[in-house]
């Protein structure tokens, strides 16, 4: 416990130190705000943004971040479900695997900003396209991880369950799904942050309003640099918090239930 507190204090100390050096260097070299804002500029923006009254129509950075996080979550859940299903199919059919693998791999090779217009011309520039692209971006790693996990379950365990029942559904319920738990948790950890990145990038070429990605882009064009910085910091804090949350969940479930251990 004492070690943990010490670790936190060290982190706080380092952060404060970075902020002080940052403030000093910007002042010393007289770097203009439009290039790099000082921490005090960010503080002024944060005070104005979060602690002053705004008109009803005003959308704060926080509102927009929550909007993007919601879409990232929707994409993440869909990708998790579809990726799981796809992984199962890929593990059971070599033909489907050889047909789908190149397509899935392509989704990783082509950057989202390049892929988005292609899909948008087919599906439109609206909300469904945004969710579709986020999902598409995330499906590859999860489906491949699920496929590999299923194929790596020792044959003796599969044989054993086969001697109890020939129904595939039983094999899934008692062996495969419990074996997949650690893989899914570890994938959730990676995908949670990837889904936020995908959401922000996807917002740029599309005409969906309300996201933080679009807001960063617009703020940058309007030279509202402290707003850009605060948005980026906010998104980073959200990503880190979600990542840490899933890490704790992963550790708890893996330690307590021992799924996927043989």
């Amino acid at each position: 416990m004492g070690g943990k507190i010490k670790q936190i204090l060290i982190i706080i100390f380092v952060l404060v130190l970075i902020i002080l050096i940052w403030e000093f260097l910007i002042n010393y070299f007289e770097v203009p705000k439009r290039i790099v804002p000082k921490p005090s500029d960010l503080y002024i923006f944060i005070k104005k943004e979060f602690f002053l009254q705004h008109s009803v129509r005003y959308q704060s950075v926080l509102t927009k971040t929550i909007f993007s996080l919601r879409d990232a979550f929707i994409g993440f859940v869909i990708a998790l479900i579809v990726g799981l299903g796809l992984g199962i199919v890929l593990a059971h059919s070599k033909v489907i695997y050889s047909l789908l693998f190149p397509l899935l791999f392509l989704t990783q090779l082509i950057p989202v900003p390049a892929l988005a217009p292609v899909i948008a011309t087919m599906l439109g520039y609206g909300y469904p396209t945004k969710i579709f692209i986020i999902t598409l971006f995330l499906i590859f790693p999860i489906s491949i991880a699920v496929k590999n996990c299923i194929l790596n379950i020792p044959l003796s365990y599969k044989d054993l369950i086969s001697t109890y029942s020939i129904k595939r559904v039983k094999k899934y319920r008692y062996l495969i799904f419990p074996s997949l738990v650690p893989t899914l948790l570890s994938q959730m950890k990676v995908l949670s942050t990837a889904s936020i990145v995908a959401t922000i990038i996807t917002e740029l070429p599309l005409s969906v309003k309300g996201g933080i990605g679009k807001d960063i882009y617009n703020s940058f064009n309007n030279q509202m640099i402290p707003r850009v910085w605060v948005s980026v910091i906010l998104i980073s804090i959200a990503s880190l918090t979600i990542f840490e949350g899933i890490t704790i969940l992963e550790k708890y479930i893996n330690t307590k239930y021992k799924y996927g251990e043989y």
């Binding site: 044989d159 001697t163 008692y174 062996l175 021992k258 799924y259």
Partner: protein, 261 residues
């Protein structure tokens, strides 16, 4: 008339025939095993014991494996026998699920087979008592020794009361003392339950210690070299130093050497 044979194998052959190579693993294997008996199979390494074991269990073999001949378990095809719960399987590794406790591992086949909750509880309680595992019922498999783990796996196989127990070198990973302890346990279980046991092993001494008869297989393409009846009374712990006991060991060693050349 009710057959006394539980396993009948006639002219069994298995050939792995792919584009690159053709490998004959089993050739013209014929034997039968009476209900309630304890029979061991022994053979040189890589002679196809595992293939024979998979075929007897009705488990799928590789796509390029061609099977000849006939196997009958309790008058049924192996797969049908497996589906009608005639076969209990104990493998080389205990294959226990770490996310289930000892109790839950024993309950696994019963849950899968859809037994009622009351029946599952009753059967588990009986088995835990029979196998002296009551105090370990809430342990996870990794908290047990190798021998105890294998005992749980035997309990799991006995849960649904199969007629036949197929055991594939179940004690291979154990040290001598634990191996002998488990040998005694398995004889104890066999005498209590009157199950038929077909035991695959590498150990000549173990085969003599346990079985009523020993089948010696040749090297690939594997066929039956000899079937030796071990006419020694149980418990065999009383026979271990007898000259007859050593005579059987010597005899099987001789056959195994001949079968390996």
């Amino acid at each position: 008339m009710v057959s006394t044979k539980i396993i009948e194998v006639k002219n069994l052959g298995a050939i792995f025939d792919s584009k690159d190579k053709r490998l004959e693993v089993l050739k013209d294997i014929t034997f039968s095993i009476n209900k309630g008996s304890f029979v061991s199979i022994i053979g040189p390494s890589g002679c196809g014991k595992s293939t024979l074991f998979r075929l007897l269990c009705g488990l799928p073999t590789k796509d390029d494996c061609k099977i000849e001949g006939k196997i009958s378990i309790n008058g049924k095809k192996p797969q049908t026998a497996r589906e009608s719960r005639d076969i209990g399987l104990v493998l080389q590794k205990p294959t226990l699920l770490e996310w289930r406790t000892v109790r839950q591992n024993i309950q696994l086949p019963l849950e899968i087979m859809g037994y009622s909750k009351n029946t599952i509880e009753k059967k588990t309680k009986d088995l835990l008592k029979k196998l002296d595992l009551e105090e370990y019922s809430h342990y996870r498999p990794s908290e047990l020794s190798g021998g105890m783990q294998q005992k749980v796996s035997i309990g799991r196989a006995l849960g649904y009361n199969p007629e036949l127990l197929l055991m594939d070198e179940p004690f291979v990973a154990l040290d001598e003392i634990n191996r002998r302890r488990m040998n005694n346990e398995i004889i104890n279980i066999w005498e209590k339950t009157k199950k038929t046991i077909l035991f695959v092993t590498h150990s000549i001494e173990e085969s003599v210690y346990l079985s009523q008869s020993v089948i010696v297989l040749t090297k690939k393409p594997s066929t039956i070299y000899k079937k030796i009846d071990i006419e020694l009374p149980y418990p065999r712990s009383n026979q271990e130093n007898s000259s007859t006991y050593f005579k059987y060991i010597k005899e099987i060693r001789k056959y195994l050497n001949e079968a390996s050349n």
